[in-house]
């Protein structure tokens, strides 16, 4: 933990009861954050608030098929959580198939999750502070080095993630990339399956849930709901 603090790039561990270390947002950054349009902020604020109130710390987003908006929701949720919470939020790009967040951050050649799983690097060394206050980003890294496995993920979670108040993992779609998703649920507090409203075939979602197994706590997030006030009807807040 001391190493993390010395590196100066990763916030302090939460277990010390102190808020994670971070750079203070500048006036420009705050103005930029405010510039995020109200509908967008509001869209993810609701989801982030529910996640925050449910006490979930490490959460992952996946879907049955590609193109359901998983990366968008993961990114928006991480942004909203970072604005909502006082501790650091880590956004992890674990999409081995299409690491769009890493591409958006222009960190395609940077070290990241793969190096952490391959024990070549620590989270402290490869996580990068994002433009938003309290938000950190872990790119996917060199995917040839390692693949997600339960053992590597347990080690990854145990060694490096306790410094963050919340960890949001962007996972690939389950059906086309089952091997990259299935190891994650045991180390996650909550796995969310994203569905696109009136677009995702329910049969495929059912098939994806069967692949995850009944022992995994899975909840659904409906994306692009056309009438939020009518459709936002959470059934279980546990």
């Amino acid at each position: 933990m001391r190493d993390l603090a010395l590196s100066g790039s990763v916030p302090h561990a939460k277990r010390n009861g102190a808020p994670p270390r971070q750079h203070a947002p500048s006036a420009d950054e705050l103005a930029s954050w405010v510039s995020l349009t109200a509908p967008v902020a509001g869209a993810f604020d609701a989801l982030a608030s529910r996640i925050d109130s449910s006490g979930v710390r490490i959460l992952g987003f996946t879907s049955a098929l590609s193109g359901e908006g998983v990366s968008t929701i993961a990114l928006g949720t991480a942004l909203a959580l970072a604005a909502l919470r006082r501790d650091a939020v880590l956004l992890v790009d674990a999409n081995w198939i299409q690491p769009s967040l890493t591409s958006d951050a222009h960190l395609g050649s940077a070290r990241g999750l793969a190096e952490c799983l391959g024990s070549d690097a620590s989270v402290a060394a490869v996580a990068r502070p994002a433009s938003r206050p309290r938000l950190w980003f872990l790119p996917v890294g060199d995917r040839q080095l390692a693949r997600p496995s339960l053992r590597a993920l347990e080690s990854f979670v145990a060694d490096g993630l306790d410094a963050f108040g919340a960890v949001v993992v962007d996972l690939p779609a389950l059906l086309p990339a089952e091997q990259f998703v299935v190891p994650w649920p045991p180390v996650l507090d909550q796995l969310f399956v994203v569905l696109r409203d009136a677009a995702t075939p329910l049969a495929l979602v059912r098939q994806a849930l069967e692949k995850l197994g009944s022992h995994v706590a899975t909840q659904l997030v409906l994306n692009r709901a056309s009438a939020p006030e009518a459709r936002f009807r959470p059934t279980d807040r546990r």
């Binding site: 010395l6 590196s7 100066g8 790039s9 750079h23 950054e29 930029s32 954050w33 995020l36 349009t37 509908p39 967008v40 509001g42 869209a43 993810f44 609701a46 989801l47 529910r50 968008t72 929701i73 990114l75 928006g76 991480a78 942004l79 956004l91 769009s100 958006d104 951050a105 960190l107 990068r128 502070p129 994002a130 433009s131 938003r132 980003f137 399956v193 569905l195 409203d197 009136a198 677009a199 075939p201 329910l202 979602v205 059912r206 849930l209 009944s214 899975t218 909840q219 659904l220 997030v221 409906l222 692009r224 056309s226 009438a227 939020p228 936002f232 009807r233 959470p234 059934t235 279980d236």
Partner: protein, 349 residues
């Protein structure tokens, strides 16, 4: 019912333009049809031909008539106007003759012309003949020409029929004449050979011969009367004109008429088609919605439950597909700067 209402609301932006398009097209077509259709109508008073003047049917003169004379004449006129030769004669008498001559398919053209005739029995003795067209002049021409052609055709048919019948009666008259002469000759021979007192048998035989002569002469008279009738009857009917009187000749219409029904049909079809398409869309939309993810159907995915819904949002003028890039720009715009700061901090330490 609720899912259908929900689907209708969801596809309102499709339903409204579609209904506007279909119904609008139907109304426009109906309006154009109504305002450009002209109908001319002639009313004809028909009478049953007197049996004394009618040409008897040589095969079966006692065929019972079950139709009213109006319906009968309407049916006959309708049949007549379905024939190509009659239609050709009718068109040749009107301003459409040039169009007929120029038509590449004369038969098809005449078939289309036939569809514009409407012949109805308005009562037991009243028949209306109407024709619709898209100009005010043609309908009256066509109706009057049709009635004129009909009159000519009927007269020609009568003359031909009476001539044939007359020839038949004349032949029968010749035969009967021969039979009468033969009977007379037999009677004369009998009288010449029995000059004296006649016995009872001879008197009976002479009576039979006289009776045969009387019968033969009676038949001759009868046949002569029939021949006279067949010669005179058509002329009488033709001259009197009481069988088929045009009470109200067709006049050229100055205002549109006769297109109401067609216009209403077009508008009605458009209305029904629009409703059917809308129903189909709502049904298909509801069916598809039941097969795809929606908050109302997620209960079937238990034990997984709906945690939250992210509404569909747009960012300023950008399309929804750019939402992730917008968020990424917000989150990662200074990530390189942050990295250098991190590096400088590391170097400072």
């Amino acid at each position: 019912m609720r899912p259908y209402v929900s689907t209708a609301r969801r596809y309102l932006w499709v339903l409204v333009p579609m209904l506007a398009l279909v119904w609008g097209a139907g109304l426009a077509a109906g309006y154009v049809e109504y305002t450009t259709t002209y109908e001319a109508q002639a009313q004809v008073w028909v009478l049953r031909v007197s049996q004394d003047l009618a040409i008897p049917n040589p095969d079966d003169p006692n065929v019972p008539v079950v139709q009213t004379v109006g319906a009968q004449q309407a049916e006959l006129l309708g049949q007549l106007l379905r024939t190509k030769s009659v239609l050709r004669d009718v068109v040749q008498r009107t301003s459409l003759r040039a169009a007929l001559a120029a038509a590449p398919d004369e038969s098809g053209y005449l078939t289309q012309i036939a569809k514009h005739f409407k012949i109805q029995a308005l009562g037991t003795n009243l028949v209306s003949v109407a024709f619709t067209a898209h100009d005010p002049k043609t309908p009256a021409e066509m109706v009057n020409a049709a009635l004129a052609v009909r009159s000519e055709r009927v007269a020609q048919a009568r003359i031909a029929g009476s001539s044939a019948l007359s020839a038949l009666y004349r032949r029968e008259f010749e035969i009967a004449q021969g039979q009468a002469l033969a009977a007379q000759r037999q009677l004369d021979d009998f009288n010449a050979s029995h000059t004296g007192q006649l016995s009872a048998d001879e008197i009976h035989q002479q009576s039979l011969l006289k009776l045969a002569v009387d019968l033969a002469q009676g038949r001759l008279v009868n046949l002569q009367n029939r021949i006279d009738d067949t010669d005179v009857a058509p002329a009488l009917v033709d001259m009197s004109g009481i069988e088929f009187q045009v009470v109200d000749p067709a006049q050229a219409e100055t205002s549109p008429s006769g297109g109401t029904r067609t216009a209403a049909t077009l508008a009605g079809i458009a209305f029904v088609v629009g409703c059917a398409l809308a129903c189909l869309l709502v049904l298909c939309g509801t069916f598809l919605a039941n097969r795809f993810a929606a908050s109302t159907d997620l209960a079937t995915l238990a034990p997984a439950k709906l945690f939250a819904a992210v509404p569909q949002v747009g960012v300023k003028d950008q399309a929804r597909r750019d939402l992730r890039r917008t968020l990424a720009a917000e989150a990662f715009s200074n990530i390189d700067t942050a990295e250098s700061r991190m590096a400088s901090e590391s170097r400072g330490r």
